[in-house]
């Protein structure tokens, strides 16, 4: 599954990465895996963030599979 990062998280983690999902997984479980990397992963993902699945805002209990695109970003500040 492709994970894209934006804004502050893009600067910390890079633009995107691929992770392998063998089954449908809750977004919260993906986030927990990323936080386990420690360091800035733990720091940044301990602050408020939002997620989108295939370009639509999603909740942390939404499920993703390997063909989805997950985006993780800080709360939006446009307008």
């Amino acid at each position: 599954m492709k994970i894209r990062y934006f804004a502050r998280l893009r600067e910390a983690f890079g633009e995107s990465e691929e992770i392998k999902l063998t089954a449908e997984t809750e977004v919260s479980e993906v986030a927990a895996l990323l936080k386990e990397r420690g360091g800035q992963w733990l720091d940044e993902l301990s602050r408020p963030y939002r997620v989108a699945i295939n370009g639509k805002m999603a909740a942390m209990d939404a499920k993703v599979s390997d063909s989805d695109e997950l985006a993780i970003f800080p709360p939006v500040t446009g307008g």
């Binding site: 934006f6 989108a52 639509k56 805002m57 985006a71 800080p74 939006v76 500040t77 446009g78 307008g79």
Partner: protein, 149 residues
């Protein structure tokens, strides 16, 4: 209904004229223009960078226009949002709503701006005397947006 994300500036009068000439039934137009302030939470702002999520941003704004149209029966609307480098005094966003009567246009324009602020994937980074910093989301914007739910 039109949604445009662009780096270049926009011309409010031209956007209004475009809607006006194609809809003789319009009785009211409301436009909101958001500007880059020269002062942020960290002091004087020299420059601002706006980032977005291409594709999702457009779809999100289009969905908000559909919802505005369902709620207030507007005749037409245009949203233009700029990205990239902006300077104090620059225009950032245009929300333009045309309807038969003024109430619908006022309400829909306010709705569109309030929801854009909390839902459309844009992020601002500002350059102050202390360097570049990401702008934090405001609780007051979240409160204004949730009033439309």
């Amino acid at each position: 209904m039109k949604v445009v994300i662009q780096q270049s500036d926009f011309d409010v009068a031209r956007e209004m004229a475009e809607i006006r000439k194609s809809h003789p039934e319009i009785g009211a137009m409301v436009n909101f223009v958001g500007l880059v302030r020269d002062f942020g939470e960290a002091g004087r702002v020299r420059e601002m960078m706006l980032e977005h999520y291409p594709g999702m941003t457009e779809r999100c704004l289009e969905a908000l226009l559909v919802e505005a149209n369902e709620r207030w029966k507007i005749v037409d609307a245009t949203v233009v949002h700029r990205v990239g480098s902006l300077l104090p005094g620059d225009q950032i966003v245009l929300v333009l709503v045309a309807s038969h009567h003024r109430k619908e246009a006022f309400r829909a324009a306010e709705f569109l701006m309030d929801r854009l602020k909390t839902e459309a994937p844009f992020w601002k980074k500002e350059h102050t005397v202390e360097g570049w910093r990401w702008v934090d989301a405001k609780a007051s914007d979240e409160a204004a947006s949730s009033e439309w739910m």
